[in-house]
Amino acid sequence: MVYLDNAATTYPKPRRVYNAWQNAMSAYGANPGRSGHRLAAVTGEAVYQSRASCAELFGADPENTIFTLNCTHALNYAIKGLARRGCHFVASDIEHNAVIRPIHAAAERCGGSYTLFEVSEDAEKTLRSAERAINRDTCALVCTAASNVFGLRPPIRELAALCRRRGIPFVVDAAQGAGVLPLKMADGISFLCAAGHKGLYGPMGTGLLLSDGKFPLATIIEGGTGSVSESLRMPEFTPDRFESGTINTAGVIALGEGARFVTEKKPEVILAHELAICRRFCAGVRGMPHITLYNDITEEKSGLYAPVVAFGIKGISSAEASAKLSDRGFYMRGGLHCAPLAHRKLGTLESGTLRFSPSVFTSGAEADALVNALRGFK
């Protein structure tokens, strides 16, 4: 089996993540931050260590590091928490449904609107498009750190600077970027939303919402937090304000171990490895007449892309190709990847694409094996 669907979720995880999860299930059995007994205290401490490790990776404050169920959950907190009557959102034209659906829903409910800006390989052009999209009612600019379909990286630092100049919060969807791209809150990110189970190598069912603490968010879920319990209102302080109900304790403890793994490996080293694998794959299929490469990652273009390659096999739908490759032991995702905007941009809304997405554990030999298998589709 060659697993190349790491943009959906990384697999395998580092052994230490499995061990942390298993240990948490047996050793940290109490509810953290709820009861006063010893086991609750040590469980709470383990959760805090995980929170601190996740915060450190992005240069955030542990108190502004909120555990969520996934990246979608975090994005909903940020987008709907910023929405107000008549508000206008700005988002890129390559966003995942995890961004555009909450924006669409928030705009409908608040009598608001949204504008999409055009992202391209030309950072200046992207910035000009984003600036044009902002108006006086804009309550947030939301942008992916990298397309989950074809890896294109919008200029995050420059977009952050634009938002700072215009005084609007900048929300980054880091589902594909966290753990791989150099994302820091100090770059001017107001809210960073991340999946725990992708580039951070944690378990599925974990995610993060990190805030720079400068923009208050309304809550969209209310409930017990184990703190200031006499009040009928949610606490004003974080993370409690956004962590109602019992958290996925074993999951977040394992996520913390994943974050420590990434910190030790260094995201830039992981990125370099995965891009090298992508370049090797692209070089292998580039000359094949029956293969369409939608983002051909070369040495020169490596800085523009996250390690995701979109490709297709002529005459075969992406779903059919994915099934045939699965039969040969190659696991990849075909279809629209929950990102119809990006596919519309690529011109692949009808056919979808296949997605090659390596992880830190993917070898060059595995990329070569896929290249060889694709030769057989002629």
């Binding site: 542990p62 184990g226 703190s227 200031v228 319990s229």
Partner: protein
């Protein structure tokens, strides 16, 4: 020798304080408590260094560095 207890509304803030103090060789434990009119809150009992000594000024200065006051945080 001073006995330093700090009341926190947030368990995470208490953990952050504990972690910073531990990095400076100052031990502490967190206890859950009930504050009238508030509900659940957390007391950081600072037990001091290896010799059991607590310097309140040093503790408060370290906590001030991370935005935590020796009053209610």
């Amino acid at each position: 020798m001073n006995n330093v207890n700090i009341l926190f509304k947030s368990f995470t803030a208490a953990q952050k304080a504990r972690s910073v103090l531990a990095a400076h060789g100052i031990n502490s434990i967190i206890e859950r408590t009930h504050t009238k009119g508030e509900g659940c809150s957390f007391i950081l009992h600072i037990t001091g260094n290896r010799r059991g000594e607590v310097n309140r000024d040093e503790v408060c200065a370290l906590l001030a560095g991370i935005g935590i006051s020796c009053g209610l945080s």
